[in-house]
């Protein structure tokens, strides 16, 4: 904030020598906030590690001495790499297709983001209803084909590792799409047109021009998707238990949730993921260096022109069908039947499951808890993210603070949510702050999980605005407060609303960390759905998954009303 520096000597306050200088006040303010964030983000990790190393590293011995640990690690790696490959290929293809859409089909650009609106738990159970080897509806249909007829099971078994990888890859595709399509927008259409004029085909343009230019976005998006893949929990937990598929995150969950709980072993199980997460975050910092270098002028001349490609429309429509419509149909059919069965008849259909669902006070409470905790966390996160973004963008004078802030706010993206769940469960079931069973602990863990999004999204907006506006405002005599309120906030409104929408969507879906910190009376929608799944009440599970999707859709609708229709495409 260079503008404030010349202002200080102009003040002729006789008490000045007794007051804390402005720069130090800022430093102390940042330090206080960083201390709070470090307590939230770093302390649970340290406590977990301390526990794992107790009694001669008993936690590590117990976790890595297990007979099946080799298999668990192999599955974890296969899941991460397999789902990464699927997500990268699909995400890039979709982003390219979206950039070639005919103008009147522009609304389809939102399609690859829509699966984010459908909670992962809902999506996974939807697929289970479709691809379970016996009664899965798609399997029943496939068995009508001549080469699969005559069997009463298969041909697809959704409970096996390859299918868990495929579904996880589908889930990660939206994230890769977000990163890649952002990169795609920065490719000048002159390049594409030049290539086409020189006689290159669409495929040639894609491989010779688009892919090389996308390399930075692909590496960044790939890094994030790899970490998300390593930390995957929902798919392996829900689908893997039938066939004994274990990954490190499900191991952690079981170690903590089975009696007697073994936090030390759970901490040890999470260590490779924490180390990898920190490594990826640090490598990204080193590779990107000073982020100010990336301030780019986003003038209109760079906007890529639309295409007329029919294949692009087809690709997005097929993706929408597979990723969204088909699992939703599976959920709707099961939710309308008294028990899940491959043999359907019209006489079975009933709305009883929904009646039961809405008569269940626990369900209503879980919706309220989800909305209240998500909203609470978003409200806390936005100002924190704004301040941290300010520190990162303009805090060149606070190098150490800025670096620390950068690391603390990036860590939750690198470390799987399950690990934060375990860390929070350990930290807040013991003095000094016993928060077990309260909504507060859910809000706190949500704040931590959303820190990277709140900070990065606002930081990107600040970077692209540059210093010109704040300097002009300061030169015109506005105080920093006025500059922030009247210049920065209005200019950043779209970015902030996008951040609010994304965080709200991600939080109403949150499952992994919530599952660990919830208590019997403090459930969010995802954890209640999981309990229903464990109890085998499949029609209720389907109805609950639809309810969850509906709540998020209403949330997104509200965000669109407040933030304009482009909120989602700004993500």
């Amino acid at each position: 904030m260079t503008a404030t520096v010349p202002a200080a000597p102009l003040k002729s306050n006789p008490m000045r020598s007794f007051a804390v200088p402005a720069q130090w006040r800022a430093r102390i303010g940042y330090l206080a906030l960083l201390a709070v964030l470090a307590y939230l983000v770093v302390l649970p990790m340290i406590r977990l590690q301390a526990l794992a190393f107790e009694n001669g590293a008993q936690g590590y011995q117990s976790q890595y001495g297990r007979f099946d640990i080799g298999e668990t690690i192999r599955t974890t790696i296969a899941l991460a790499i397999g789902s990464l490959v699927i997500a990268m290929v699909l995400g890039t293809l979709l982003a390219f297709a979206a950039s070639r859409l005919p103008a009147r089909m522009g609304f389809l650009k939102i399609v690859p983001i829509l699966p984010i609106v459908m909670p992962a738990v809902a999506n996974i159970v939807g697929w289970a209803f479709l691809l379970s080897p016996g009664p899965g509806y798609l399997n029943v249909l496939l068995r009508k084909l001549p080469w699969w007829s005559g069997t009463d099971s298969g041909p697809i078994d959704v409970y096996t590792v390859p299918w868990i990888i495929i579904l996880t890859g589908f889930g990660l595709t939206s994230f890769v799409y977000l990163f890649v399509s952002a990169g795609m927008q920065n490719i000048s259409s002159e390049h594409l047109e030049a290539a086409q004029v020189s006689g290159s085909s669409t495929i040639g343009v894609f491989f010779r021009v688009v892919l090389p230019l996308l390399r930075p976005s692909l590496i960044y998006g790939g890094g994030i998707a790899l970490l998300l893949g390593l930390g995957q929990f929902t798919g392996p937990l829900l689908l893997g238990q039938n066939t004994g598929v274990n990954v490190l995150t499900t191991d952690m969950y079981r170690r903590v949730s089975e009696s007697p709980s073994d936090f030390a072993a759970a901490a040890a199980a999470g260590s490779p993921l924490v180390i990898l997460g920190i490594a990826v975050v640090l490598i990204q910092k080193l590779l990107l260096g000073n982020q100010n270098r990336f301030v780019t002028h986003g003038g209109k001349a760079f906007a890529p022109s639309g295409g007329r490609a029919r294949w692009a429309t087809m690709t997005l429509v097929v993706y929408a069908l597979v990723a969204l419509v088909i699992p939703l149909v599976g959920l709707i059919v099961v939710s309308l039947t008294p028990y899940w069965s491959g043999a359907l008849s019209w006489s079975l259909f009933t709305l009883d499951n929904f009646r039961e669902l809405f008569a269940n006070t626990a369900v209503i409470e879980s919706v309220v808890t989800s909305v209240v905790t998500s909203f609470g966390a978003v409200l806390i996160c936005v100002p924190i993210g704004y301040i941290m973004a300010n520190l990162l963008v303009r805090g060149r004078r606070f190098r150490v603070l800025s670096l620390t802030g950068d690391l603390i706010t990036a860590l939750p993206l690198g470390i799987p949510a399950v690990i934060f769940g375990v860390g929070f469960l350990l930290t807040y079931t013991e003095p000094p702050l016993i928060l077990y069973g309260t909504r507060t602990v859910i809000v706190l863990v949500y704040v931590v999980l959303m820190l990277p999004f709140a900070t990065r999204m606002q930081m990107t907006a600040m970077l692209s605005l540059g210093n010109a506006y704040t300097e002009a405002s300061a030169t015109s005599g506005a105080s920093p407060m006025v500059t922030n309120l009247r210049i920065m906030l209005p200019l950043m409104r779209p970015a902030i609303l996008s951040a609010v929408a994304l965080m709200f969507i991600l939080l109403t879906h949150e499952f992994a960390a919530s599952l660990l910190v919830r208590a019997s009376t403090t459930q969010v929608m995802g954890t209640l759905l999981y309990d229903m799944w464990q109890n085998g009440s499949y029609p209720q599970v389907a109805a609950m998954a639809l309810l969850m999707t509906a709540v998020t859709t209403v949330g997104v609708g509200a965000a669109m009303v407040v933030g304009g229709r482009n909120v989602l495409s700004n993500l």
């Binding site: 800022a26 303010g29 099946d68 016996g134 100002p383 013991e430 069973g437 109890n535 085998g536």
Partner: protein, 344 residues
Amino acid sequence: MRVRTAVATVVAAALVVAIAACGSSPASSGPVDGDWAEVVAAAEAEGSVFLYSTQHPDNLARLKTAFEDEYPGITLEFVRGTDVEINPRVETENRTGKGTADVHMTSDPAWITTAAESGRYSTPIVGPAFDTAGYERDRSVLDDRLFLVSAAVFALGWNTSALPGGLQTPGDLLTESLRGKIGVVNPAGFAAVVDEYRFFDENWSPDFNRRLAALRPRVYPSALGVAQALNSGEIAATPMVQPLVREQGAGAPVGWVLPQPAWGTPWYSHVLTSAPHPNAAQVLADFLVTEKGQTALSAGYGSALPDIPGAVARAQDIPLPDTSTLTADSVSRFQQEWRERFMP
């Protein structure tokens, strides 16, 4: 800079306020010293009671109706889960002093024995129903704290579309045509299920588990999950499911039969020391062993009182498994062997 300092302070303060505001603890009134009428009066003043149980949700829903009919001033809420999920919650609530549950009903023999010996989780029961002749207090109460309420007996089950002929004996399951179509319960975290698998080898045939595992059965987290998988046709048969009385009532295509001998395990309950409603907890504990409570709880299960309609056995006749063979070490060794055998 001042602005950011101020905002930072406000945010930090907001966090602290949020923590303080939401971190409320449930009000505990403490159990009253006095006769039963005073306990009931105090329970009505508390107004609600919370039960953790591993029983079938339908039975628990019937219990709720029956209890609230008997005590209109007290609302009964419950959470149904497996022992694997519920027992750690009880332990956490005990450790943090932040109780949610008032009464806990479990079928984990190792947990029951440890809890009875330590006395750490439970308070002594005071209700009059425990002294009725039919309940046989001497056979039904452990250390004045844990009391018998019910018992599960496990049946052979099948899907009638997939297996129209059904099953008569456990040996009928061990056939090649059922490869990949049998459902079993994962014993991870379940001492009772470990006992059940041992029972198969000891009572049905010495290599029952080995042959069962060779048929690559599907694994479920609980017997309720197995029952639903039978309903849906995801599996065709199982050696370990509760009597499918309710499922048949709902029109699901399933059949069941109790094998000879059948494995069972008793359910014990206790009033928790961390109970936020200690008097209502005593009233619920008492109600569980009355005729009305037993009638609500016993469909498809063994009952703790004689002549309860819908009960499939007498709970007192189903002994608590010998927990000396269910030490933490031997259970975890068995679970490892089971995993190597059933999920190679």
